[in-house]
């Protein structure tokens, strides 16, 4: 189950750390960092259902099912 209630000990600290991590990066580098971050966090979460739920929220819609599995 994805936690959708506030869950960060200190949201401001995290947000600041996130911005700091991107400081001084080009647009390409920023995208690459985000992609790595997604993979790192996804592995930590581990649960496919939770991740699916997160993907749907992030996309704002239903993510298209893997075309070949339908």
């Amino acid at each position: 189950m994805l936690i959708t209630e506030p869950n960060l000990g200190n949201a401001d600290d995290f947000y600041a750390a996130l911005l700091r991590a991107h400081d001084g990066l080009s647009e390409d580098e920023t995208h690459a960092l985000n992609a790595r971050l997604v993979l790192i966090l996804a592995n930590h979460i581990g649960d496919l259902e939770t991740l699916d739920q997160a993907l749907r929220i992030a996309r704002g819609t239903q993510v298209e099912a893997d075309a070949t599995t339908s």
Binding site: H31, A32, A35, R36, V38, L39, I40, T68, T69
Partner: protein, 541 residues
């Protein structure tokens, strides 16, 4: 006539002439002759099916529009399950003797190795996880086995330079028009199996769809012969210096032949890339200054497609005609061999054993499930190798950026998910699992894992429908109507226990003729067995 026949065989160069055109008595028959089974296409799938049917005493005619195996390796990786099927049919040992075994795969990015995998075959199996063998050898060994079976009386008839022009379906047969160097003739089949490849003329002639995805990429294959002491392992590169921004593969085959595979991208000039000087230049950039011969070059693109239904009345599709995958993962010929394995005993049971046609419908259920699984895996590899958008490329690169330092991304690197046998989950032929504590890998629907048994290997003994008692005795022969089951009792040795008993003390398994598990119980129960056999033979569908 001589010129006529040579016009037929010059369409493409062949590696081996195996079935030269010869006039059949059917061509002079006043009334079209009807055969129990006609197979269109003598590729690996058609030949394996013919051999299986012939060994079961079912009359089968194979029609192929050429007179032997085409030049060019195409498939080179053959999986354990395929070798096990070939053991049952006969030529397994020949294939393993000729083939190259490998276990190690190395993945590079640029010049650096980013990770390696070992297929780590489990102990206690007769066959290795994979061998590499050129497809023409694979087909030749099958045909040699057919010749041996024919000599022993198996009713198999291979007709080279016989091209099927037209089919017309009737309720209880299919009528065919077949062209030959000496003109066309009519033929009939109680069952027609279309093993006529990815561009299946039979499928097209029937107006049936073949849907899926085309992948916008080209790959150049160069099979080269060279003396090299590189180890027998699979090497795969992302973005190597000799093919920047693309992928490449190197894999050993028998006869000092190496498969080199270069990703080229979508917008290429095909004929320029196939130019021998250009190909040699590419090869030299990859392998450095050594002597080599070019054995075969080809550019391929691929698609992942499947038919909706594999069975249409008396016409059945098997192999590439029914489903096509990308070469990554070696699921094409290996998947097709499992089609043949699945279909042979069912057709034989319907034609000679009084089984209902619903048994054939289970071929659709089981093999479509397998086809979709193969397509899913091979599409995912293709998506990793050929990112379709900048976002896809971003994640692919993120994986590759981290893989050296972080073990957790290794499972995401996808340079091919190698063929594994299908588990027929939810098959209409399976009975509910009745073995408490039984391992998952041997639940009904699963292929039997091999294990040492009776001073050999278990699969050697599962050559027909079998009641297998493990740590408990079963009758030596069980006859239920037209079905004769072999009874086999084996001790619960450690590897057998681990694979078949789990926490159970003993078990009785019902094994199908294709070495898949139909049912299992803690002890022999004649009534339960009879019901499971009925189900296995399609009588409960």
């Amino acid at each position: 006539m001589k010129d006529e026949a040579s016009a037929w065989t010059q369409r493409y160069e062949r590696a081996f002439q195996l079935y030269p055109y010869a006039r059949s008595a059917d061509q002079d028959a006043k009334v079209p002759v009807r055969h129990p089974v006609v197979i269109v296409g003598g590729g690996p799938v058609g030949m394996a099916l013919a051999l299986d049917l012939g060994q079961r005493g079912v009359g089968v005619v194979v029609l192929d529009d050429h007179d032997g195996v085409g030049q060019g390796s195409r498939a080179i990786c053959f999986a354990k399950r395929t070798l096990e099927i070939c053991d049952r049919l006969g030529p397994g040992q020949k294939m393993v003797d000729k083939g190259e075994q490998w276990n190690l795969g190395r993945v590079f990015r640029g010049e650096d190795q980013i990770y390696e995998f070992n297929l780590l075959p489990e102990d206690g199996h007769r066959r290795p996880a994979f061998i590499n063998l050129q497809q023409p050898y694979f087909e030749k060994f099958l045909v040699e086995e057919i010749r041996a079976a024919q000599a022993a009386g198996a009713p198999i008839d291979i007709r080279g330079c016989n091209r099927v022009l037209k089919t017309e379906a009737a309720a209880d047969h299919v009528a065919l028009e077949v062209d030959t160097p000496e003109g066309s003739y009519a033929l009939q089949a109680e069952w027609l199996v279309a093993c006529d490849g990815a561009n299946s003329p039979i499928r097209d002639g029937m107006g049936l769809g073949f849907d899926g995805r085309v992948f916008e990429d080209n790959f150049l294959i160069a099979d080269i012969r060279m003396q090299a002491s590189f180890p027998t392992e699979r090497r795969f590169w992302f973005d190597p210096p000799f093919n920047p921004g693309q992928t490449a593969l190197m894999h050993k085959q028998p006869d000092d032949v190496w498969r080199l595979d270069f990703q080229l991208g979508w917008d290429i000039d095909r004929s320029a890339e196939l130019n021998e000087t250009r190909v040699r230049e590419r090869v030299r950039e990859m392998i450095g200054e050594r002597d080599f011969d070019l054995v075969w070059t080809s550019i391929y693109t691929f698609r992942c497609c499947t038919m909706d239904q594999y069975v249409h009345g008396r016409v059945i599709f098997a192999g590439d005609s029914a489903h096509q995958v990308s070469p990554f993962g070696a699921r094409g010929a290996n998947g097709g061999m499992q089609d043949a394995d699945n279909l042979g005993w069912k057709l034989a049971a319907v034609l000679t054993g009084g089984a209902p046609e619903s048994l054939i419908a289970s071929y659709q259920a089981e093999r479509k499930h397998a086809g979709l699984e193969n397509i899913k895996n091979s599409s995912r590899t293709a998506d990793f190798l050929t990112p379709r958008s900048p976002a896809h490329a971003l994640f692919r690169d993120a994986v590759l950026d981290m893989v050296q330092d972080h073990a957790f991304v290794r499972p995401m690197v996808n340079s091919g998910r190698l063929s594994a046998p299908a588990q027929y989950e939810g098959s209409p032929l399976s009975s509910a699992d009745a073995l408490p504590g039984g391992p998952d890998r041997t639940k009904p629907g699963s292929p039997c894992p091999d294990a040492p048994a009776l001073s050999g290997y278990l699969l050697d003994h599962l050559t027909r429908a079998t009641v297998l008692g493990i740590g408990t005795a079963v009758p030596e022969e069980v006859t239920l109507g037209a079905v004769r089951l072999k009874g086999l009792s084996i001790p619960a040795d450690p590897m057998v226990s681990e694979r078949y008993l789990g926490s159970a003390a003993a078990a009785v398994y019902l094994i199908r003729p294709d070495q898949h598990i139909a049912a299992r119980w803690p002890q022999f129960d004649a009534a339960a067995l009879a019901a499971a056999v009925d189900r296995m033979m399609g009588r409960a569908c």
